[in-house]
């Protein structure tokens, strides 16, 4: 089962390495990892998508909480939340096909950010299933290159993410 975990961590060198090392050292499966600044400049938020059953998730949450640089661990299972990935995809686009591809991008509310004689680069953000759907729809045209970020996520509602259930 896939779980999304959000960690509030201290913003200093080595923290990412420590968390990545924790996962690899204990054989936990990371599907994706995104980290960036928060509203407080000394803190970063790390969003990790992991794979595993409830027992594994429990160990992951507890091992993360144990790290000195991790302030709080929140688990989005059973919580209403917004999640987004960002996609950049370079599609093979000869002039004849260009309008079709641009229409498809518009349907998905993506933006064309680069164009050349034989290619188009589309930028698209959204939940995972929307990204996957777009990739499937343009695959027949020929995908030249894909770059994707990890997932970022935030709880719905007025309360900050860290006050959602399942904290350390």
């Amino acid at each position: 089962m896939r779980h999304v975990i959000s960690c509030l961590v201290i913003n200093k060198p080595g923290v990412l390495a420590r968390i990545a090392g924790l996962f690899s050292g204990r054989g936990f499966n990371i599907d994706s990892l995104a980290v960036g600044e928060t509203e407080a400049k000394e803190l970063s938020r790390m969003t990790i998508v992991v794979h595993g059953d409830d027992a594994i998730l429990e160990q992951i949450r507890k091992q993360l909480s144990k790290l000195i640089d991790v302030i709080k661990v929140s688990d989005f299972t059973d919580v209403d939340f917004v999640e987004r990935d960002l996609l950049l995809v370079k599609v093979h686009a000869p002039p004849a096909k260009r309008p079709e591809i641009m229409q498809l991008a518009e349907v998905f509310r993506g933006k064309v950010v680069d164009v050349g004689p034989r290619h188009l680069t589309v930028e698209l953000s959204g939940p995972e299933h929307k990204i996957e759907a777009f990739l499937e729809v343009i695959r027949p045209y020929g995908i030249k290159e894909v770059a994707r970020t990890g997932r970022i996520a935030m709880a719905r509602g007025a309360q900050p993410t860290e006050s959602t259930r399942r904290k350390n």
């Binding site: 961590v9 201290i10 080595g14 390495a17 420590r18 090392g21 924790l22 050292g25 027992a55 429990e58 160990q59 507890k62 091992q63 909480s65 144990k66 790290l67 000195i68 640089d69 991790v70 302030i71």
Partner: protein, 561 residues
Amino acid sequence: MSSKGSEVIIDSLRKQGVEHVFGYPGGSVIPLFDSLYDVKDLKLFLVRHEQAAAHAADGYARATGRVGVCVATSGPGATNLVTGIATAHMDSIPLVAITGQVKVPLIGNDAFQEADITGITRPITKHNYLIKDVADLPRIIKEAFHIASTGRPGPVVVDIPVDITLAEFKGEIDLPIDLPGYNPSVKGNVKQLKRVAKALAEAERPLIYAGGGVILAGASDQVRELAKKCDVPVTTTLMGLGVYPETDEKLSLGMLGMHGTAYANYAVMNADLIIAVGARFDDRVTGRVDAFAPYAKIVHLDVDPTAISKNIEVDIPVVGDAKHILDGLLELVKQKKHPEWIEQIAKWRRDHPLSYADGGLKPQFVVEKIYEVTGGDAIICTEVGQNQMWAAQFYKYTKPRTFISSGGLGTMGYGFPAAIGAQVGCPDRTVVDIAGDGSIQMNIQELCTAVQHELPVKIAILNNGFLGMVRQWQELFWDRRYAHTTLDCQPDFVKLAEAYGAVGMRAEDPDEVEPTLREAIGNGRPTLIDVRVEPEENVFPMVPAGGKIDEMIGPKEPELL
């Protein structure tokens, strides 16, 4: 008032109450050693290999309960500490390792004697720091000691570039620490405690399974009180030896697990309630996890939430400091007796005692003699393997902090430097390292350290000419194919000891053992005793790896009353 970085380090150590440090110099730490040169209240013990500095600081910490401190230079000095740091990490020992580092502008440049020690030790430390600004120095050292010694203790590395130790420092040394992400639990949850008390009141075959965490928390008295008040037998892990006096023939079951006593293992497999305190259900204890303690409700008292339900599903967890939790529990439990359970255990103890056959100089006999001659009052350090297991089985431990052994990592070469550290911390005690001929050679150079600093450590080598424990596995499971376990070439240990300026003695006959031990222990000098024991003796009982712990090689079938 301003001072140099190196002086700030020493002041900070002083503020932490550090009196003894183990280390070895090098380029990146010359400023630090220079500042230490005139200091009278902080003594550095010079080792002969940095690995020994880490093990000595570790043995010092285990013997005294204080934080052990070691110092090494950058590059190879720091990497030589790695095994010692990993040893301390596995056994949760409070250690602060200060390593030199190349100048800040050179970091990451493959400079001379540079090593990314914070990267290398990340998985084997509780936390680590690289100091980039001298202003951070006192706060970080204070934090390092706090992290090392609180919650579940562990080693902390502080990597200090040489230019930081030379930099001018202005300001306060005593700054508050800033660790928003670190808040270990101390008090146990009262509701959970009530559940534990209720389970204990209802149990008919309860058992206390005590580990190293009890000693780290200083909670041995509480365990004893609980055992006596509620008539509960106590078994300990290797790390927990000494928590409960093994001279109590009624309630003490000795060690459990792979080489534990048969009666401890039978008790676990037949108990209806197991109260685990400061122990982690390690694979050496549980054997086959799905067959472990089939009839028992499991209560787990531990300071580290990650230890709970990691290997074995726990029914009633309580997170917090063992001493606090047990104090709270003692107020809730009532006096109780379990005559039938105690009688059953007594029968198992009578039918399946620890034993060994007569015939020649047996290593188990040597350990028994060490117990007799020291009056059971020594601090016993061990190396790893058969020597370690026999030391655990045949010496009766009655006090905490008297058995010092690398349990989790199983580091050969740990015992002798750890004994040196223990002797420094406890100068009035007799300290004995029980060793094998393989292990003792891994840090034999520390004979220099013992002689130079006049530390009268005794080493008893159970010399069988083999890498004993591996040979035993090869005998039992690999058709007696002794692949590379015959240690054919061996120094004359007596001459070797004398070459280092220590005392060398030998015993080749059972009758020689006691007088040799008595002479060694009374001579006030570092002494190595080469005891020529029966070469192919095995450690029994033995639970084969991954087996059920009541199916041991060695004793006969148990009988239930």
